[in-house]
């Protein structure tokens, strides 16, 4: 991708499935990587860094909790000190607490969801944006199709993902004069362990005793316009890399949907 060679990207949630794919796509495009995740994901993070280095790029691992501004600032400062600059921020870390009707969600699950999904992103940008140089850069915030519409039993998650759009729209207004672009990406179902697990299969197919992946895929496929049950992490990473590259130099304050037509389906 043009303009990414020898840049530095910061990725949160870098030990997770999709976070690792982001790191590797950026490394493959010629960027060095500051890969952050929380301490519980230290092993996965090490594997991400190993794979990024195998692509010939530098990768600094950092352990920090996105809900802790001090930890985030320290980890980002250390990464930038080692790699010398920062051009792109990919705020990818997020979570999905157990759902339920909006009035029965626990205060703990509500707060934890806002803390990680919303304040975690603000912390990331607050600690990271000051390192982006005079030539500008790109902030990509991973929201969700739930950042654009509601679904049952997800009020906390949906509120947090909508709020990210608001945060991005204000950041884009505030940082535009520094040539920093700010956009959100909205994946539909992604074919990671978050979706591909037995509990999800049972939720999608309450009519079956022992649903298989294909049984669940059938339901998910019927929700999309394209005949696929989910997108892959690579599809999300492709969109993120595009937004970070010079090919998207005049794209800011936008919402890029990567959902196989989930939110566009009208019949």
């Amino acid at each position: 991708m043009p303009g990414l060679r020898d840049t530095v990207v910061l990725v949160t949630g870098a030990g997770s499935g999709t976070g690792r794919v982001h790191c590797l796509h950026f490394a493959a495009a010629g960027a060095d990587v500051i890969a952050l995740d929380h301490a519980a994901a230290a092993d996965e993070l090490r594997e991400t860094a190993y794979q990024a280095r195998a692509l010939g790029r530098r990768c600094v691992e950092g352990l920090a909790d996105v809900t802790n501004l001090g930890e985030m600032a320290a980890a980002i400062d250390a990464g930038v000190a080692e790699l010398g600059r920062l051009d792109t921020i990919v705020a990818n870390a997020g979570m999905h607490a157990p759902g339920g009707p909006a009035w029965s969600i626990s205060a703990h699950d509500w707060q934890r969801t806002l803390d990680v999904n919303l304040t975690g992103v603000w912390n990331t940008v607050k600690a990271g944006a000051r390192h982006i140089g005079p030539d500008g850069g790109s902030v990509v915030i991973i929201s969700s199709t739930n950042g654009l519409r509601g679904t049952p039993h997800s009020a906390h998650y949906t509120a947090s993902k909508h709020a990210l759009v608001g945060l991005a729209r204000t950041l884009a207004n505030e940082l535009g004069s520094r040539s920093i672009r700010v956009n959100t990406v909205h994946p539909g179902a992604v074919g990671t362990a978050t979706v591909r697990n037995t509990a999800t299969y049972r939720r999608l197919r309450p009519d079956l005793d022992d649903p298989t992946e294909e049984d669940a895929a059938e339901v998910l496929r019927s929700r999309n316009l394209l005949p696929v049950p989910w997108v892959e992490s690579a599809d999300v990473a492709n969109a993120v890399v595009f937004l970070a590259s010079d090919e998207a130099r005049y794209i800011t304050c936008s919402q890029l949907v990567v959902d196989a037509g989930l939110t566009g389906r009208t019949t």
Binding site: L114, A163, L171
Partner: protein, 278 residues
Amino acid sequence: MSALRLAGKVALITGAARGIGRAQAVRFAQEGADIIGLDLCGPVETVSVPSSTPADLEETGRLVRQAGRRIYTEIVDVRDLEGLQAATDRGVDAFGGLDVVCATAGITSRAMTVDLSENAWRTMLDVNLTGVWHTCRVSAEYLIARGGGSMALTSSIAGLRGLVGVGHYTAAKHGVIGLMRGLAHDLAPHDVRVNCILPTNVDTPLIQNDVVRVGFRPDLDRPPTRDEFAEAARRMNLLAIPWVEAIDVANAALFLASDEARYITAITLPVDAGATQR
């Protein structure tokens, strides 16, 4: 429409001491509703605009009674889930049920997003987003028990677009729309409708103060006058007005609360003089 549009209904309103909340209380009372009016009536840390007072809430009570309806008022913080539940329970006990909820309580403060203090960020989310969820959470089962109802959540034009210097406010107000869209799904089977109202600037104490006015006229080296503020505020709207009045927001909430809007749910209703399209 000669019959009263909320005859025999009970409406709970947060932020009822002044501004939009008071206008909703009085307007709903004029249309036959009894009112549960809640407000903090005091300052919130990190917020420098002048706060509401117990005297403000008393005045709302006087106006509702003057309109011929009953009102139950209580001073409570929407951030306090248990306190809000208790106040709501007592209000509903007083009137025997609940039909309409207006989550109106809100705050404002100002700084560039990356310069906001953690406390200002957190307090904003606590009041303007979690406070709205608390309000819905403590009242939802009363509406379900009634067999239907209406919730109107006050978002903002900042629920649909970004505004410089209020990133925390914009995030919270977008979040309120997400909350509404989730709630609307969860409550639809119970015939409870949930919608958002998105005002542009409203002529209330929340904007008519030096803290907010200064943000609109960075070109001046002093707080602008009301007229100088109006000149800048007018440029946000399509219509040639600087701000709407609280009654305009109350009228929109009344429409959404009434049977005239019986099939309207999960919408974002701008009361914005065209601001979101400018």
